[in-house]
Point group: C2
Chain length 441, copies 2
């Protein structure tokens, strides 16, 4: 009669996906190994299973972990270093100079800083594209988070691998090392159409095909990118990728602020996905991506925070709030981008952009156990009429109390279990002071 589970998580509410109608009260989920083995009423689960461990939260809401589809984790070290500046001033006078100072050790620590913030604010999976990605991956491995990680390649030398040719070897190493890893998936990451030659874009397309990986690229982020592409190739960035036969179901395009209706239709036809980074697009004054039009056309849309230097946080609850609100005012339609659509984009929709919707993004028997629990016994979440509404418009990262990734508890009662947070913050403070000192040179 009684089956064995490794962990039973129970609470007052369980939302398996993004629909209020699927809400279960007094609910529980049973986990064996890395997998969800049962979901139901707390009474039923506790009668069917005996568990090695139980984790109960009175007034707790059990839900799928959030999926951040576009990050540059190590940039957490640069948060607030320079803000409110024109893009090129920000990049050339502030970001590029400090990026030249990166060491592998700094990247490892700065990634852990971002991992700590992500776990605390309810993210269980992220897609990262940056430099020194072996260190990003190593830090992520230690944290127990699930991630898609790629090394950014572009035409000029990199602080990580030097000349471009070394970059391909670096990427090959990365793919070889993580081939069988349960949590880390490697991606092929050209930076953008304006920093990568046709040859580089195509060669990474071949890499993606060879390794059956995602092809992650910044695409149509702002007017300057459009102008450069038009001048250089006589077409838009999307058309450029299409002409190179690089727009496919494995394409995950970050930003896509400047798409027109034809390009949206083309993205949908090719099955290409979008990582929508609204707060970064607002802060850098890039524009408002036509997300409601993308969704109407059938384009798969996930939500991303972008790096903490251009947001300035990686809190996906805050990001959902911004996404749901700005498309209402952008379309002058209060029904646009409703709470359930927005929550879907941050969970199962995000999983689909990573081609992982069968594994993660919702709570279902057979899926991986990537689960967060929120404390709903708080003034800003009481009373509770509609869970998706609260999650999108009222909840914040700090409401998350537990996080389980791939069946393993990485945060319990707001305490991080896989990262030494005190030591990390002390080391990061010193690193920040050193960067500031260098800045004065």
């Amino acid at each position: 009669m009684s089956q064995q589970a490794d962990l039973i998580i129970s609470g007052s509410y369980l939302l398996p996906g993004s629909h209020q109608q699927d809400l279960i009260t007094d609910a529980a989920v049973a986990i064996t190994g890395d997998t969800i083995t049962a979901i139901g009423s707390s009474a039923q689960i506790k009668s069917d299973f005996s568990a090695t461990r139980t984790l109960h939260t009175e007034h707790g809401l059990i839900m799928p972990g959030l999926i951040n589809t576009h990050t540059h984790a190590p940039m957490a070290l640069f948060r607030g270093l320079a803000d409110d500046l024109p893009l090129m001033t920000w990049l050339e006078e502030h970001i590029f100079p400090v990026e030249s100072k990166w060491t592998p050790h700094m990247i490892f620590q700065a990634t852990q800083l971002s991992l700590a913030e992500m776990i605390r604010s309810g993210t269980t999976s992220f897609c990262d594209t940056y430099l020194f990605s072996k260190e990003v991956a190593r830090a992520t491995e230690e944290s127990g988070m699930r991630a898609w990680i790629g090394e950014v390649l572009y035409d000029f030398p990199s602080p990580c691998y030097g000349e471009l040719e070394n970059g391909f070897a670096y990427v090959d190493d990365l793919f070889a090392h993580y081939r069988e890893h349960p949590l880390i998936t490697v991606t092929a990451d050209p930076h953008s159409v304006y920093t990568c030659s046709k040859e580089l874009l195509s060669r990474l397309g071949t890499v993606a095909r060879d390794y059956n990986s995602l092809y992650v690229i910044h695409l149509s982020e702002n007017q300057a990118e459009l102008d450069t592409c038009q001048e250089r190739y006589g077409c838009t960035p999307v058309q450029h990728l299409e002409q190179l036969e690089l727009l496919g179901a494995n394409t995950l395009a970050a930003h896509c602020v400047m798409l027109n209706d034809e390009e949206i239709a083309l993205m949908a036809e090719r099955g290409a996905s979008v990582a929508h980074c609204m707060e970064s697009n607002m802060k850098l004054a890039s524009g408002t991506a036509p997300v409601t039009q993308m969704l109407a056309a059938g384009v798969q849309v996930g939500i991303g925070t972008d790096g903490a230097a251009s947001n300035n946080d990686v809190d996906m609850f805050a990001e959902m709030d911004s996404v749901a609100k700005i498309h209402k005012v952008a379309n002058m339609d209060p029904t646009a981008m409703n709470a359930e659509q927005t929550l879907h984009a941050a969970t199962l929709g995000g999983a689909a952009t990573l081609q992982a919707q069968k594994q993660i993004g919702s709570l279902a028997v057979g899926k991986k156990a990537d689960i967060i629990v929120l404390d709903m016994n708080q003034p800003h979440l009481t009373p509770l009429y509609n869970v998706p509404s609260h999650l999108v418009y009222a909840a914040r990262g700090a409401d998350v109390v537990h996080s389980v990734i791939n069946g393993k508890c990485v945060m319990e009662n707001r305490e991080l279990l896989t990262l030494d947070e005190d030591r990390l913050l002390t080391e990061i403070r010193t690193m920040g002071e050193t960067l500031m000192e260098h800045g004065k040179d």
Copy 2:
């Protein structure tokens, strides 16, 4: 040599206003009674003063409490009841029906719910305009918060006072009761130009003059208001108030989404102030108020959350983040509405809209002790290069650990000292369930 203080608050950082250049490290503030008596280095303050009580926070940031210039506190009970709907559907099918069920007891409890959220998220003063304001004021008095409170008057009968004529008696009572109160200031509150006759608008103008009070009104919130005013009076809402000689230094106009350049110039000339409610304007798809233009013209601008039913939170840190970001993308200028400007609007700028800039809004000797302390020893706030940037773009309400209002500690280590939060949340949950049951009738 040693002076006596009632309370010394110390921490790693103290920001007296909104400018990074004024930051003091290892700082302290001495408080006697309701007043700040000294600010300086921790060593200096501790050598100059002996204190009855000390409150030290390692990695703590001491700063002025935030000022929320437009709220409808009791509407916290309706948060998430209905969202993502056209304005008139939302109002007529969801909000008006539940508003008809208000009792004084419900208003008192729902106000305390909002007070709990405001204190937790760093607000120390707010300006509230709603129904049953005697109950709003009574709940606020118990909490120890500072507030400007008015009873909304409009042409039709009110669930609170019934026929309009009773409303004036209600307002007179309110003014009489709080004449000498140290924390509660009463205001004269016509709802709007589209719900109040010329006579009502003018008569409340007289009330405001008689009591030397603020005149708080919703103004130019959306296109529908403009259309109605144009049809009825052949002018815009701002012109309508101007013709009635109701636009003055005591006018606090909420929203002001639809102002043109001439109206902005007129507001500046008259010294009228604006409560900018960006998240509500986004969620209801009202539009984007021309705030950068208002500031350039010299209009005093504060920040407001509006009610929790149309936001859906009263977290001023989240609101600052939205305000700073949306005006960048609305103006396509990443330098627009920078962190210091935004922080100013949420502190001293907000105080000025309430004509209280000499008493509150910054930390200075002789000012009232309205002070919050944030825990900066967290991943999303480390390292710390620029305090205004972190406060606007990365901090959230949950980062606030202590709150002192008028010299009295209302929250310590995230525990509310003036409100019985557990009892309150239990009662509010029951109230919410009752509302939902009625909704099914």
